[in-house]
């Protein structure tokens, strides 16, 4: 089953490697992964789609939250969230089916981003199922090439972001003293 995870993480070298490494290490299959900056340039927002057994979903989130560069991992599967994907399609058309293809594009609210005598490049956004259908329809007109972005997700509930406050260096030493006592 597909699980969609929204991650807020520090934009540090190696942060992406930690996330993907953890997923493969624990045997979770990545279906898609997108990452980009947030309005705070030190943070990135990542949306990951993984294929896991539903029972394992909380474990995936807990493991993500253990990563020190991850500020928050949220399971947005089926939750209040907007999930969107973008697809770019290149399609060859003939003089005869040119208008039909444009008609289909219009139905799916796709935009023409390139047009030549040979064919079109189309851009469509929506949820993944809608894009699946769009691609299915276009394949009936001939060979196509597809690039999909993977899901980007925006959680809609007000989840409080809990961050650890700065600690004076002594705080760590206090723990140490505790450990030193026999």
């Amino acid at each position: 089953m597909q699980q969609v995870i929204s991650l807020l993480l520090e934009n540090k070298p190696g942060a992406l490697m930690r996330v993907t490494g953890l997923l493969s290490q624990r045997g979770y299959n990545i279906e898609s992964l997108t990452v980009g900056r947030t309005i705070d340039p030190t943070l990135s927002r990542m949306t990951i789609t993984v294929d896991v057994d539903p029972n394992v979903r909380p474990q995936v989130i807990k493991q993500m939250n253990k990563l020190i560069n991850v500020l928050q991992a949220t399971d947005v599967t089926g939750g209040p969230a907007v999930n969107r994907e973008l697809v770019l399609v290149r399609i060859r058309v003939t003089q005869q089916n040119r208008t039909s293809v444009l008609k289909e594009a219009e139905i799916f609210q796709a935009r023409v981003v390139d047009s030549t005598t040979e064919g079109f490049a189309l851009e469509a956004t929506g949820d993944s199922e809608k894009l699946d259908e769009f691609i299915d329809v276009l394949t009936t007109y001939g060979d196509i090439e597809v690039t999909r972005s993977g899901i980007v997700s925006m959680p809609l509930d007000n989840r409080k972001l809990r961050l650890s406050p700065p600690l004076p260096l002594g705080a760590a030493e206090e723990t140490l003293e505790l450990q030193q006592t026999e």
Partner: protein, 575 residues
């Protein structure tokens, strides 16, 4: 201002001093020469190991014996890759160590330079967290964060990879005053409502059973554990990682559970109606077949790592927190509820204790002995006699480890030091070096098999250099015993590549390194040989030739339920 300008190497050492580091276990190499140049006249003591893997194991021995963060150091490339086993080992057993590795100059990184390896990438999954430092100015923050991450929460190994130019560069050193890791959360206190509910469940249970794990040792919660055991008056088992957390001589202590656990330990787990799991992770070596594990029990699970809760076995009542903080609160609640609830299940509790004692009496863990040969169990019983539950004992992995765990008593935490989760051969001897360095007052036995010992021989030089009075006891059966045991039991006795011939003469080997050693193969000479080893003021290498064909029992076959133990080897049928 210029007086304040320091090299990265010097800054690193000053940061280590601020973290109370007194010993580094390491091995120099090309890119760490600047660091060793700074060490030349520095107060921190450096122990020169003979292989980087042992540096990590020695740092672990130091950490396991004291609870303080151990430090190891290696150069780039092969030095760093040699550390990896030790890091993963520390990861599996949650041991706080910080590894410092050199890296080629930042300008050379990515060019396949001499002795370059992607240490940062390679150790991603081998550490709790790792850092790559390319600028001298970034060093203090990374080092202090590394120590904080290693020692806090669920402890673990942290690696700091430092480029040669970061060691050499000069920077104004402003000591770090605070650590800010916004995404790193440590849960210590436990949820009060959950703690109260847990206390209620404990009084309501008819057959409560305490299952203490390594977290009780790592969290220095032995006293707390003991108080809980006594308040509730429940039987308690300690896992392989927790032996000593509750004194072995405590009347409520049953034994170790799991694949080679005692009959009573496992039967108790199976029949309990409440399992109180403290700082433990329901490892497969403890649970056996998970579906058949503790089928009648509700589970209270206290752990500092939220990801351990319900990972293997669903917890009916989870408490995320530090055992050292949570247990006293639990005891408080138990005492508050006691007047109303304590007597409710008293009769059932008595019957439960009676049952557990019967199991214990039925199949106790007793060392088998023979008149004609030294049984390995006999060896462990003799070491137990000399230790009296007070010596530090380190081991590798395999048969000798299991017999040690079964038959040697540990009456204090941090005495029993072994490679549990990863099961690394070659761990015991270097771990003993780290432990003896940290605890010069303690008698240290390093019990190793003849296989694991041969992975550690280079480190005999380190022992001699520092005149460490470690008693190396080789349980020599001429086999990779545990692999042979499995080949016998599960692979139709097709013994393949498990015979270890060509073992050196122990006395000559020790003498070659400049210390004493001997071999004992007669059962009536065993006690005296061990006593000689212990009486020797310096190190001693005792090669004990034990009966070669002994196997470890009880045993839960892999994938079996823990109540379905094989209690002893199949006996030959008399004709």
């Amino acid at each position: 201002m210029s007086s304040n300008l320091l090299s990265g190497a010097k800054i690193l050492l000053d940061c280590l001093v601020r973290e109370n580091v007194d010993i580094i276990f390491g091995y120099p190499g090309g890119v760490t020469i600047p660091l060793y140049d700074a060490l030349y006249d520095h107060q921190i003591r450096h122990i020169l190991v003979r292989h980087e893997q042992n540096a990590a194991f020695e740092a672990q021995g130091y950490a396991r014996a004291t609870g303080r963060t151990g430090v190891c150091c290696a150069t780039s490339g092969p030095g760093a890759t040699n550390l990896v086993t030790g890091l993963v080992d520390a990861m599996m057993d949650s041991i706080p160590i910080v590894a410092i590795t050199g890296q080629v100059s930042s300008k050379l990184m990515g060019t396949d330079a001499f002795q370059e390896a992607d240490t940062f990438g390679i150790t991603r999954s081998a550490t709790k967290h790792n850092f790559l430092v390319k600028n001298t100015a970034d060093l203090p923050q990374a080092v202090h964060e590394a120590f904080y991450v290693a020692s806090s929460g669920r402890p673990g190994p942290v690696l700091v990879d430092i480029t040669k130019d970061a060691f050499q560069g000069q920077s104004h050193y402003a000591p770090v005053s605070e650590i800010h890791l916004p995404g790193y959360k440590v849960f210590r206190e436990g949820h009060n409502g959950q703690i109260r509910r847990a206390a209620q469940m404990m009084w309501e249970a008819e057959r409560p059973y305490i299952y203490a794990g390594g977290g009780t040792v790592l969290g220095n919660a032995s006293e707390e554990l003991r108080a809980l055991v006594e308040t509730l008056d429940a039987p308690a088992v300690c896992t392989l990682m927790a032996l000593g957390a509750l004194p072995a001589d405590h009347p409520n202590f049953i034994s170790m559970p799991g694949m080679h656990g005692s009959y009573a330990s496992n039967m108790g787990m199976y029949h309990a109606d409440l399992l109180i799991a403290l700082g433990t992770r329901f490892d497969d070596r403890v649970t056996g077949r998970l579906a058949a594990f503790a089928p009648h029990a509700k589970i209270i699970h206290v752990d500092i790592d939220p990801a351990e809760i319900s990972k293997n076995r669903v917890a009916d009542l989870p408490i995320v927190g530090d055992v050292k903080r949570v247990i006293p609160k639990l005891i408080g609640e138990l005492k508050e509820l006691a007047p109303a609830m304590k007597s409710k299940r008293a009769a059932a509790r008595q019957a439960w204790w009676k049952q557990v004692r019967e199991w214990k009496a039925e199949h106790p863990l007793v060392a088998e002995k023979s008149d004609t040969e030294i049984k390995p169990q006999h060896l462990m019983a003799e070491i137990d006699r000399l230790s009296g539950g007070r010596a530090i004992v380190t081991s590798d992995v395999g048969q000798h480890q299991m017999w040690s765990a079964q038959l040697i008593r540990f009456n204090e935490p941090r005495l029993w030091i072994n490679s549990g989760g990863l099961g690394s051969m070659g761990f015991g001897l270097p771990a003993a070096i780290g432990a003896q360095m940290a605890r010069p007052d303690k008698l240290v036995f390093s019990i190793v098999g003849d296989g694991g010992f041969q992975m550690s021989i280079p480190e005999l030089a380190t022992i001699v250099n520092h005149a460490l009075p470690i008693k190396i006891i080789i349980m020599n059966n001429g086999y990779l015993g545990m692999v042979r045991q499995w080949q016998q039991l599960f692979y139709n006795n097709r013994l393949c590549e498990v015979t270890l011939s060509g073992f050196p003469d122990a006395e000559k080997l020790a003498a070659a390194y400049g210390f004493k050693g001997s071999t004992v193969d007669k059962v009536n000479e065993l006690s005296a040989a061990l006593e000689t080893a212990v009486a020797e003021p310096g190190p001693y290498l005792l090669n004990v030739k034990v009966s070669p064909h002994e196997n470890v029992y009880p045993m839960v076959p892999a994938g079996g339920a823990i109540n379905e133990m094989v209690l002893r080897a199949p006996q030959p049928v008399e004709a």
